[in-house]
Every structure is written in structure tokens, then in C-alpha cells.
Amino acid sequence: MDPRNFTFMFYGFLAAWLIVLLYVISLARRGARLKKELEDVRQLVSSAQSGEAARLEDRVR
């Protein structure tokens, strides 16, 4: 039996799992980034809305 067979079989399985693993890691990182971005934008919206409400109150006065 050619020992290269085993070595290349190992490379094949390693490559397959490595590609999937890297994708899962990138997915997890992207998820964390989106979660943070969502919180930031929500804060931005609430501050923008409170600013708008304050301006309206000023106009009414």
C-alpha cells in the first residue's frame, strides 16, 4: 500500500473540515458583529426619536 495514499486521505479530510470550520467561525463572528450593530442602531434611533420629540415640544411651547 502506498503510504502517500494515507497522507493524502488525511489532507483531504483535513481540508474538508477546515473549510467548514472556517465558515462556521466567520458565521459566528458575523453574527456577533450584526448583534452589536443592531444594538448601536437601536440606540441611535431612540436618541434620534427623543431628539425629535424634544424639538416638537420646543415648537409647541
Partner: protein, 228 residues
């Protein structure tokens, strides 16, 4: 709920993969002509089929978007395409490693390999194009068109081993050949691994779809903030 389903699918995939790896390495014998390297087929073929199924699912979702105009079909199609590209890359890389041992070369420009590479390039282009277009409706419309175009190549990839003379081996699964080209125990393991990879792909698509929904929410909140 969606996260629980994704976790359930991932656990089922992991359990099945553990069983499959045990069978592949410790139960099934070496192949008479190829030795141990033939075991790559247990990931190479299921990864290819998973990718192709994904592209056809994305095609259906793209058509659904074009007929209904609902952006959630487009988001789902994008998620499915992204996961399918990953499995197509696994298919090409494992195939290339197998070819290095069996053919003595990493790559040859035969119909099967070239069309598979073109398929990955088309759908990578699809994902890149989505990043380049900000307007959601325009992005969805162009992406759907490109997805439909890309699926023509998927059919060529699928049928190329029947249509053309290739270095790539011909069909081996008995569903295509009528039987007699592969040992039933080995074929069964290909199907088991296909189920495992499909479960894994479904879990990844669910996670990715959740991210697409979050991105849409961020987009609409940004518009709201700008309007305010």
C-alpha cells in the same frame, strides 16, 4: 425557536457524522485499486450533491421572489447560496487532493472540473454582487436573475459526466447507473454522509437566515433614524 431547530439539526448531523466516520475508517475496507484514498469520495460526492441541491433550492426561492416580490425569499436564497458555495469548495478541494494521487496532477481542465469551478465563480460573484448593491429591491432582482443564470451551469456540472468524455470518473451511484458500479456498503455510506451534510447545511442556512433578518432590521432602523 429557529435557534433550537438549528441546534437540533447540528446535533443530528454531528451524531450521524460520528457514526459515518467510524464506518468509513474502521469498518469499510480499502478499495482494491485506489487503496485508502478512495475514502475521500465519502465527502467529495455528498458535498457536491449538497451544493447542487442548494443551488436548485436557491433557484426555486429566486423564482418565488420574482413572482411575489417578498424580500424574505431573496434573503433565504442568499443564505442557501452561501452555504452551497462552501460545500462546492469542499467538493473541488477534496477532488483535487484525490486527483493528485490517482491522476498524478492537482487539476485538469476537463468539462466536469471546469464547469464545477465556473459554478463556484458564478455563485461567488452572486454573493459579491449582493454586497455591492445597497438598494434591497434592486439587489434582490439582480441576484435572482444571476441565480437562475447560474443554475444553467449547475445542470452542466451535473450532466457533464454523461454528455462529454472526461478524466473525471463517470456516474457511480446506482440511482444513475442502474447498479453494479459501486459496492452497496460503500454506496450506502455515501448516502448516510449526504444526509449528515444536508442536516449540517440546513443548520447553517437557518443561522445565516437569522443574520439576514438582523441585517434587514438594521437597514430599516437606519432609514428610520435618517428620517427622524
Amino acid at each position: 425557536m429557529r435557534e433550537k431547530i438549528a441546534i437540533g439539526l447540528a446535533i443530528a448531523a454531528a451524531g450521524l457524522l460520528a457514526y459515518d466516520l467510524y464506518q468509513i475508517f474502521l469498518v469499510l475496507p480499502d478499495e482494491a485499486m485506489q487503496g485508502a484514498i478512495y475514502r475521500i469520495i465519502f465527502f467529495h460526492v455528498p458535498a457536491a450533491i449538497t451544493g447542487m441541491i442548494g443551488y436548485f433550492v436557491a433557484l426555486t426561492l429566486s423564482v418565488l421572489y420574482l413572482s411575489s416580490g417578498k424580500l424574505r425569499w431573496d434573503s433565504l436564497a442568499a443564505s442557501v447560496v452561501e452555504v452551497s458555495v462552501i460545500f462546492s469548495v469542499v467538493n473541488i478541494v477534496t477532488g483535487s487532493i484525490w486527483a493528485r494521487v490517482i491522476w498524478g496532477i492537482w487539476w485538469t481542465w476537463d468539462y466536469r472540473l471546469t464547469s464545477a469551478l465556473v459554478c463556484v465563480l458564478i455563485f461567488s460573484g452572486y454573493l459579491m454582487m449582493r454586497r455591492a448593491i445597497d438598494e434591497p429591491t434592486q439587489r434582490a432582482r439582480l441576484s435572482s436573475a444571476l441565480c437562475i443564470f447560474g443554475c444553467v451551469d449547475v445542470v452542466i456540472v451535473w450532466k457533464s459526466i454523461e454528455w462529454f468524455r472526461n478524466n473525471h470518473p463517470g456516474p457511480v451511484l446506482s440511482i444513475r447507473t442502474g447498479g453494479g458500479t459501486i459496492d452497496p456498503a460503500m454506496e450506502r455510506m455515501i448516502y448516510f454522509n449526504l444526509i449528515a451534510l444536508l442536516l449540517m447545511a440546513a443548520a447553517l442556512v437557518l443561522v445565516r437566515t437569522r443574520q439576514e433578518a438582523t441585517a434587514r432590521e438594521i437597514d430599516s432602523l437606519r432609514r428610520l433614524a435618517n428620517a427622524a
